[in-house]
Symmetry: C2
Subunit: 385 residues, 2 copies
Amino acid sequence: MTDVVIAGIGQTEVGEHWDIGLRELAFAAIQDAVKDSGGLKPQSLFVGNMLAPNLSNQAHLGVLLADYAALLGIEAVTIEAAGASGGAALRQGYLAVASGMVDVALVVGVEKFTDKVGAGVDAALATTGDSDFEAIQGMTPSAQAALLMKRYMHEYQVPADGYAGFALTAHANGVANKAAMFRKPIKPETYTKAEMVSDPLNIFDMAPNADGAAALVLTRRDLLPSNFHHSLVKISGSAASSDTLALHDRKDMLFFDTAQISAGKAIKQARLTLNDIDFFEYHDMFSIYAALQLEAVGFAVKGQGWKLAADGEIGLKGRIPSATMGGMKARGFPGGAAGVYQAVDAVTQLRGQAEANQIPDAKIALIQSLGGPASTAVSHILQRL
Amino acid sequence: MTDVVIAGIGQTEVGEHWDIGLRELAFAAIQDAVKDSGGLKPQSLFVGNMLAPNLSNQAHLGVLLADYAALLGIEAVTIEAAGASGGAALRQGYLAVASGMVDVALVVGVEKFTDKVGAGVDAALATTGDSDFEAIQGMTPSAQAALLMKRYMHEYQVPADGYAGFALTAHANGVANKAAMFRKPIKPETYTKAEMVSDPLNIFDMAPNADGAAALVLTRRDLLPSNFHHSLVKISGSAASSDTLALHDRKDMLFFDTAQISAGKAIKQARLTLNDIDFFEYHDMFSIYAALQLEAVGFAVKGQGWKLAADGEIGLKGRIPSATMGGMKARGFPGGAAGVYQAVDAVTQLRGQAEANQIPDAKIALIQSLGGPASTAVSHILQRL
């Protein structure tokens, strides 16, 4: 079998789209991706979505979107793994094409947070944790991240502004990204003076929930249309792993096992080593997640992930550029679409289309999508051919 | 690559399990299936679930179940396509094993209706239709099925008791099925005197929502353990198709295009013809669905599906035995588990383990899982080797 390649990418601007519905958002991204692929005709649709049954009172998104995008007749299904839904949908699309049963797969991530407000959003988000043992006690994702931050600061003597580098890097990189929700750089004092959400987690330690959709067209290399004119990006590694929903069930809550396992498998499948990776799109829903992912994957030793950010090593010219188009912090966090946006960003870099944010001669990317505090991790290696 | 086979099956009794939680239900089925497979170790978990984010306030079921079943570390993801979630999860498991990337896949369907009652269930079920254009107007699945029944009766001069054969057959076959919710035969007058739900749909024209879980272990033929002792069943065809969510958008609402397309593809992949099929597990959530599936697949001409039931042709000794273990009508409808129960029933028949319900020398089964009024259809051919 020839390589599985990402032939088309599409995305909407991320933000509060009060006047655009879930199906319209998804359609915009699908249309862009299909056009970008040179007009490939998908046979299967894999929808990455996290919360539409609660946020939008809408399940059965596969056929809803196939219908609205004039693709009826094709296979259509929703893939859910909380915040990792986008990465998981990409993996299902990859498996389908790799199986030889599907020639062209369309992966679309979509989320519409503004269909609900306030407590409705909190209740929806709480369904991604353990409903019987955590959510019911009032545990929210941001409270959980705050606990992780606090413990990490205690264990490794991290200063009060120790996490600032993640937000500074993301917002610097988001300036030139037309799909990003926030396109202004921030200063160190913006972080230190920021409003507290759940001590020590301030508003710059978390990505904003937002609406958005991103799409990918996958196919086999030998099926590319003759008018395909981009540098070619293949998926050379794909893996996923699971850990407890509840932090209290883990031996070491400050190490993201799934991030290590899934990245390790994907890198091995691609026959690469960590040193081969040119940049890393992590899941910076919370700055602590980014720090722990850098450590789990192996870019930093335990307790030192935050220093990569503080020392500028995750910047575009650093040792391991991360959140290269602004990440979730500056782009916004569109739930089940977030992992698909990561792939769009990585392909943009690998094709050499990242303009002001371009990493010179970027050839190999690691992208990693998380559900909860790495209860799920899905990792992919994308590689320019 | 060698054949993809179903090595293990497991199921819980279907019913109102007020005292058993969603994770416990799933675990019971998983444990049975893994044991039945001779102890194969799954690498990937595909959860078919329809409504847990609403019914049980629980998303992220993949890791919840992997955790509870002591399978942490494995890939785990939820697959949703409304009532076809079980069939869709089976298909994703099949694609994963067929890709060569996964050696052993665990497919589990689970639903816990009794986590909500009354209007809570109706609201959850309404999310599987078009929220913006149908659900918001009060359209429920049973109201929709009643409209289909009425139109069908008008077009084809079907008598008032024309659909009775579906319930009579299902309840006759359910008697000997220990996993069935209802194990009593019914008489023709039970049907004609039954309470009306939404004229002309009476309480025997629909399957009861209920709790349950079923599981399958898939692997490649060459990876079977030496202690495997069942007749071997392979998946020789797999396909899915999509149609509009809303009936009003269809050219002909009395023909289930997706049932025809997906069954046709699956049969073609298996290099069979319709005549080769020994029995058919249809999606008898509503008797009208069963009638329209028999027609779409090709077992009856248009308008005559109901007569197969009325004439006893879907009975165990009929021309095309259907709902051979009681179907959804007698077993109960456990949402996203329903399509997985179909596979369990078919494997039971193909192995020759169906006891009183055994179809002599059954070798080839067609199973078909629907989401909404065939907005999604997923078809599989299971075949004894």
